[in-house]
């Protein structure tokens, strides 16, 4: 038996495979297919202080080996989550992580304070990288001062594992990573989606109601992998890698580049079983390569 356990600060995971925020609902949707207790963790849908309707339809466009989305953080707000959803899902046998969003630092703080009270939420992922909202979101994640400010303030009110989710839409992602590490982030997760655009050449209109949206899927994997590798070499806190992971080989590439755990996002739309298949695939890989633990892969790219 190989050992798949990994640790993200205080958070012990039975395996390094999480599902990404905004691509796995509130975990319940996945339970229609399988027991989510198999997963390393589930990142819940991006949550804000108040109800948000999100952006108008159309919100997605297929692209070469990927897709654009412009969901825009549609959610019913943190109070609705606490009252109506949390009670239904809190007994799932996997760590549930809330993806915290805000248009102002105060909003981030308020949401975090509320989540801090929830026994069964061992960690939050601070989303400072959503490209699909007008205020807040990515604007916090593309400059060091603002990324620092929001991390510092949220850290003050949060006791458990604080993961900060980074935007890839920057010149040097290691600077942002170091900035949030300096303000007490326990881990960084990367990457969120790349700002992209698609056009209907026949109708001469943008395919998304918001013109631009977030690019995800295998198309972005080479860039995401490079960023994970750069950040791994720049910070001391554990890195959570994602961006286009479709199978176990992809996940292992991220581990080798330095990720302690990975998140699977868009792949779930193609097949909700992919995260589970990746867990099995990593297990098989370790056995085949006569390794005892997944930790033997993390950061072990040979140069």
């Amino acid at each position: 038996m190989v050992d798949l356990n990994v640790k993200i600060h205080d958070l012990e995971l039975k395996n390094p495979v999480m599902t990404a925020s905004g691509t796995s609902g509130f975990a319940e949707e996945l339970t229609d297919f399988y027991d989510v207790g198999q997963l390393g963790a589930v990142l819940l849908k991006g949550t804000t202080l108040k109800n948000r309707d999100g952006n108008p339809y159309p919100r997605m466009a297929e692209t070469a080996s990927g897709m654009l989305n412009a969901v825009g953080l549609q959610n019913k707000g943190i109070d609705y989550f606490i009252e109506n959803i949390y009670p239904r899902i809190k007994e799932y046998n996997t760590p549930l992580i809330v993806n915290v969003n805000g248009s102002t630092v105060e909003e981030y703080i308020e949401v975090t304070e509320k989540v801090n009270e929830l026994d069964k939420i061992p960690a939050i992922e601070l989303n400072i990288s959503c490209p699909n909202v007008k205020e807040g979101g990515m604007s916090f994640g593309i400059s060091c001062p603002s990324a620092e400010a929001v991390t510092r303030e949220v850290r003050r009110v949060y006791d458990k594992t604080l993961i900060v989710k980074l935007s890839p839409n920057v010149t040097d992602i290691t600077e942002i990573a170091k900035a949030v590490e300096g303000q007490g982030a326990d881990s960084v997760s990367l990457v969120n989606t790349f700002l992209g655009m698609a056009i209907d050449s026949e109708k001469r209109i943008p395919l998304l109601s918001t013109v631009t949206g977030g690019l995800s899927g295998p198309a972005i994997k080479p860039i995401a992998l490079r960023m994970v590798w750069q950040v791994y070499n720049a910070v001391k806190i554990p890195v959570i890698g994602m961006g286009g992971i479709m199978n176990a080989a992809d996940a292992i590439e991220f581990l080798l580049a330095g990720a302690t755990a990975v998140q699977v996002g868009t792949a779930i739309f193609k097949d909700p079983f992919i995260p589970v298949k990746i867990i099995t695939g990593i297990e098989e890989y370790l056995t085949r390569h006569k390794m005892q633990s997944v930790n033997e892969l993390i950061g072990c790219l040979q140069m």
Binding site: G22, T23, S24, G25, E28, E29, L30, T31, D32, F33, K45, N51, D53, G54, P56, Y57, P58, R59, M60, A61, E62, T63, A64, S65, G66, M67, N69, V71, Q74, G217, T266, I268, F269, K270, D271, P272, F273
Partner: protein, 257 residues
């Protein structure tokens, strides 16, 4: 929430109904779960360098004995084209059953089913499953021209078939809302419709004006099909709802139409 599956099916047959519509019958190695009219599958398009996501299609027919499930696929773009090239014996992967079904009529209902384009599929499925005597079921199918209609004659055992064509080459001339049975919309207790947006909106408008129960089945761009991506929304009285889980069937009263 209800149990859903990701399963490989084999293509049993693929029949061209006309130049752009294909009837694809798929067989599962496993027992099919319970499936109701209005529900759909999300189907993987393999061996294409252009297509990344699955494509949603309404379920048209089910045979629980033979474990077959049929779809009517109309060629619209690259994915539907590729699917209509499937051959008997090929494997296709489905995520299913997805979405909510139409409200099954009660025994004293008189229903009107209005289908256009690929929306014919769930209408015929509903006719079959309605549990009503055929005299209480009217099926109105619209198309541009005679050759765009699929052969629905088998369904005359479940209801009275009516047709319109825009060029008058088959059935009554005009759109579905111009058909004589549609003029008697007040004689039905429930109206169901699936097809092009413009058609459904026209039907819904009359049904709303006349205050008749009416359900429509929306077609929307979908990424996941099971409620996790929030891409497939429709603005409703209750805010933006996911067409894939809260629909595709909606009562027109819920919509902002």
């Amino acid at each position: 929430m209800s149990k859903k599956f990701v399963e490989d099916f084999k293509v049993a047959e693929n029949i061209a109904l006309n130049s752009s519509n294909f009837l694809i019958k798929l067989v599962s190695p496993k027992k099919l779960p319970d499936i109701k009219p209005g529900q759909f599958v999300n189907i993987e398009v393999k061996n294409s360098d252009e297509i990344f996501l699955r494509r949603p299609f309404s379920i048209f027919e089910i045979d629980y004995q033979k474990n077959t499930l049929s779809l009517i696929i109309k060629i619209l773009g690259r994915g539907s084209k590729k699917l209509t090239e499937l051959k008997a014996g090929d494997t296709v992967n489905l995520v299913y059953p997805l979405g909510k079904s139409f409200t099954i009529p009660q025994s004293d209902d008189r229903i009107l089913l209005i289908g256009g384009g690929s929306g014919v599929a769930p209408m015929l499925f509903l006719a079959k499953e309605s549990g009503l005597n055929r005299e209480n079921v009217d099926i109105l199918l619209g198309a541009r021209s005679r050759e765009d209609h699929v052969d629905a004659s088998e369904y005359s055992k479940y209801g009275n078939l009516h047709f319109t064509t825009e060029d008058g080459s088959f059935g009554e001339k005009g759109f579905v809302i111009h058909h004589s049975v549609f003029q008697q919309i007040n004689s039905y207790s429930k109206v169901y419709t699936c097809g092009p947006d413009a058609m459904m909106r026209a039907v819904a408008k009359t049904a709303k004006d006349e205050d008749i129960f009416c359900e429509v089945s929306l077609e929307n761009l979908m990424a996941c099909g099971f409620g996790v991506c929030l891409c497939c929304i429709e603005p409703t009285q209750k805010g933006n709802l996911c067409v894939c889980t809260e629909g595709p069937v909606f009562n027109i009263k819920e919509l902002k139409w």
